[in-house]
Assembly symmetry: D2
Homo-oligomer: 372 residues x 4
């Protein structure tokens, strides 16, 4: 079950970077959801390699095929199986990795854990595995939009975007508004602040020209979410979001609301006072990030995820081989000089998976039976 | 199941702050573990209220009772049920909370989720719930020490400590060494650097004198852990640690290894080169924090957790009542001006729970059957 | 987790026959359910030892105490912890069992699995463990009655009863009607057919007088259940019922609807034709036992459970000791000459747990989101 | 998760009878297991339609493809994805089913549960779904054979076979020996007793000639299993076996050891005395069916499963249409006059899944840590 996520809306991903295919099975999807493969494809295209000149040139069409769970254009409630064939495999490019561990990759640890590994392009540890997450997330996003609207609610919107690449960060004031999808997608770096985006792109190209890489930070916001989602004490909403984000390759940190900066405040500065706006309870500020006691409070969910610089660099590095002898490894092959822009749709997908799952859990406990 | 944690070493906590008792059931504990109630009590004493003059004066003996799963001084492999009676209840002190939501507490969200709540001292959302976690964690710690030693391994040691209170932080160079338990416990603030500890204590006393509170940061390290623990792709070791930490009251962030600072580095600065030391593969640096690709690599596990300032402050705050009308609430009653020192044993306990669970999972998949 | 049952309405039992107490934690209970300890006590009294002259004379008041999850007379949605102290312990009576394995008991297998065991009265393998199941089942029964009625549905009724003791069976024609609780409880043997009940009681007294024991069969029916409950392909309603029943001590078989007799029929004899009665789809016959394709069809659920004769008999039996040497063991102490009458409330409790859990699962997937 | 089975060796099946494909994902498979697609194909061929003249003539090659989790001829410990394309689809043959519910099929209940269904050939409720189970079971069988032998144990053997078709049953004395695979596979009906097999085949052909169908009983035995497998109190070995069997289409009952007949015995007749044979503890008889207290005792596991007659018959039957109006339905199309022979490899597969999962669970709790 380590390759499954979610309790009720449960996704199971499978596949290696240079195997035959990657895919996902979604168990627990509500029935009768209109199903449009083009919408899933559109999300996959956002994470696809080769989409701009600041990402890896690996050529993958990433054509998604649906094998089950859909009938006459709608979901049936049975497992949805989605499959994407791997196309641009160059396993030979990875021959050197067979015997040498790439620094800060998962080569050494997979070998230590399993006693063997598919070394081609990182095998299962490759970010290619996230294809299945993004496909499932596209369905979850649609549930949050259409399923809530049909019940008279506001569509839930999830928006992730880059706030930082290396030491280039969006100005604080530019982060106040909920960015539009168009603003995020306006540049390949997916930062909605044009001046910052331009600087980020320049920095990525610069480090790439030096055979190097950089990290960055993604912020993700959710609006339209009602109060009441989250399952204390262990499955708090922020706990499951943190797990979802730290389950992504290259992530090193997660913070919600005030985050690490909140540790530097006093209670009198940090507390979110309640107020009534238009007859609805709101908080005046949102240092809680939309979650209190592990449960959504109806405000915007706001969290950030730190990504380390890509481990693959086109430089010679010290390492050891499979026998433990010290050696050097010269990085080569295709890679992203900064994985963060392509991680934006993945962060959104994981967020959608968490939210649909928690919504169903909340409905099950608090909405199934009512008592006089 | 939201009140259960772990897949194979599974703990279930129950109880409210001012109910009859709090407790925990541990399912899946290995049999034949020597069981000493005094060791569990010792860990509970570390998180107990009233242990020093910088924490809440609530008086709780927190005497733990074992009800099952132990026979003739050893565990039997059946569920271990542990119970702690609540003693110093002052439910009357919370009457005002019945109708008014305390800012940045869980009052509003529990009401929104469940339609009712035990308002006395926060009920289930109180940190008093962590009594059960610490009791279970004491058992997990012992397994990691004795169970590994008996098999010829090094005892696994877990050490958490404060690196920051408000804007007072340990100097970077003081964080190089693995602190001793004695150094951590030398002061009530649980920071192993004496000068920083003194400043932290002074700061906590100062904000308390102003009816205010502060947050802080805990670092946790683990040494002696072998390579190979962690279950990609979703149950990566850091993902489960992140979830464990964000499931704790008042936490706002988690980072492992280089964390958010890692986003500011280049790959050539961030990568951990491999080397051979005494015939064993190690990394020269440890920006990975002991985990690569979601699996431990044999280096020290290093992560940090951000805590917000205590929400309860002895000041008047704007809020709304249960009908949504705006009002004011004057904080009163006993509380911690800074929860972080008492959170140290809780962070250690959750870490121990994650590690034992992952160890058992790793053994199950990779150690049960072997093939020629 | 082997001591937990259910996915969303999840119960965890703990406790040994001669330990300090037995108990249960219920996680996922809907909030706002009126809570009455007397109703739980009433169900516990039905399974209590010493309630009649055909069961074990062990004296246990089985007074249940609630420790959490209830506030001002209603459930809060947080874990409900229930505890029953063991009273009439006579551990000394079991000294011989410490070194000798009782035939057809769990002594040998617990020793083989765990390397040690609490031998007193069977420890964890004792049917005393079912105290927690019955307490949790009483809550589940109430949810099925009140929670459905409040939503405008018919209360769901669960009725178990003995159809067979040894070779004495209820006549087929007497099994047509849904028995009343009063008819079931009219005799200590819990068979609603008076003549059969009398013969059963006589048989039990007779075998007891010879130091022997007998088995029997329980039938359980459920009415008022809507169509749509059950989660194919693995968590079919009958699959989870079968698991629930075979998880009870002394059970050897489960069958639903036509059961083993159905294997002797032709399809043309076995199929349940559909018809319309009062505008509602029904089946003319019910050989399916209320479940088709793993999902309830709105008809009565009907299943049967086989119980073996009590393993404890007051006769000398061949066995081995803990060192593997052959020896003899003379049964002594208190026991039930036939466990089946006391198993009736336990079968009902497990049925209620399965149904509430499946109801919540069905609501989560098919009732949370709706699509235009 | 209703389409997943197992806690540690976890299989997830997907696919509909007349969709694009059916398949399975296996998560938690031990690494380094030699992988041979031909062995999986051989098991699939045993359940394949069209293999003899007493089963459905539907033509399916059932060619299995491996998409992940295998590298250079061995498993890697990552998810194994297996896929079988559906070939001989005749969706037009099912047009009448679109609006009419077939008696004793799952048409009505799927419609009631999900509000829509893939009606073609039963969609998800078709036994075609078991392709994935058999493929996963082939891997589990190999683990039980090779993984135990490599550790110095005896290969675990699982053998299922028909003991009854309609009212034709194997003589009791013929059931004493553990049948060979060759004896089971000697006839298409998979009964190892030649005379009984011949009578069964004749009966199946006869009822088919009348457009009718029959049910039957499968017995399954396991030898070579050590004592200690099974996870009380809820995940007893027989409870998980019962669930596994009742999760199969067309099953109506499960019994282990003495089963329902055991209810007719006295304790003095039923108890299995212990004895020492060659220094190993055994039971003289095996009415327990190899399980005591939910844990294997080292004897043969023996259980039986009842199958109802195939619901599809070539006769006119009363039913209702999707609007609830009464109508008639004339069965047509391809079907098995008796599903039981093809269920033999499926029963074996599910048994293997249960045993591998329990073996890993037992190893995790009782074999990971040891204490002085």
């Amino acid at each position: 079950m380590p390759n499954s996520f979610g309790k009720l809306f449960r996704v199971t991903t499978w596949g290696e970077s240079h195997g035959a295919a990657v895919g996902v099975v979604i168990d627990g999807c509500p029935p009768n959801l209109p199903f449009d493969l083009a919408e899933i494809q559109a999300e996959l295209d956002r994470r696809r390699p080769g989409q701009s000149d600041i990402v890896t040139p690996r050529k993958e069409e990433d054509r998604v095929e649906v094998l089950s769970g859909v009938f006459e254009g709608r979901t049936t409630g049975t497992p949805i199986s989605l499959l994407v064939r791997n196309a641009d495999q160059r396993p030979g490019a990875y021959d050197e990795m067979k015997d040498k561990f790439r620094p800060s990759h998962a080569d050494f640890t997979y070998q230590a854990k399993f006693g063997r590994r598919d070394h081609r392009g990182g095998g299962r540890s490759s970010a290619r595995e996230t294809v299945g997450r993004v496909a499932a997330g596209a369905i979850a996003k649609k549930i949050l939009a259409q399923g809530v609207k049909a019940a008279g609610g506001a569509a839930v919107e999830i928006r992730a975007f880059l706030t930082q690449v290396h030491d280039i960060a969006m100005p604080e004031e530019a982060r106040a508004a909920f960015p539009t999808l168009a603003d995020v997608e306006a540049t390949p770096v997916r930062c909605p602040h044009p001046a910052t985006a331009a600087a980020m792109i320049a920095r990525i190209k610069h480090v790439r020209s030096e055979g190097d890489s950089v990290g960055g930070v993604i912020e993700c916001r959710v609006r339209g979410l009602p109060a009441g989602l989250g399952e204390p004490v262990f499955d708090r909403l922020e706990a499951d979001l943190a797990k979802a984000m730290l389950s992504l390759p290259a992530t090193k940190g997660f913070e919600i609301g005030s985050g690490f900066a909140g540790a530097r405040l006093r209670g009198s500065e940090h507390n979110d006072a309640f107020e009534s706006r238009g007859g609805v309870v709101h908080t005046t500020t949102n240092r809680s990030g939309g979650v209190q006691g592990g449960i959504s409070n109806g405000e915007e969910i706001v969290f950030r995820v730190a990504f380390k610089p890509t481990a693959t660099i086109l430089q010679s590095q010290k390492t050891v081989d499979i026998l433990g002898a010290e050696t050097e490894l010269m990085g080569r092959g295709r890679h992203d000089p900064c994985v963060v822009p392509r991680a934006v749709p993945i962060v959104e997908a994981m967020t959608a998976l968490v939210l649909v799952d928690h919504w169903m859990r909340q409905a099950a406990q608090c909405g199934t039976f009512t008592f006089a």
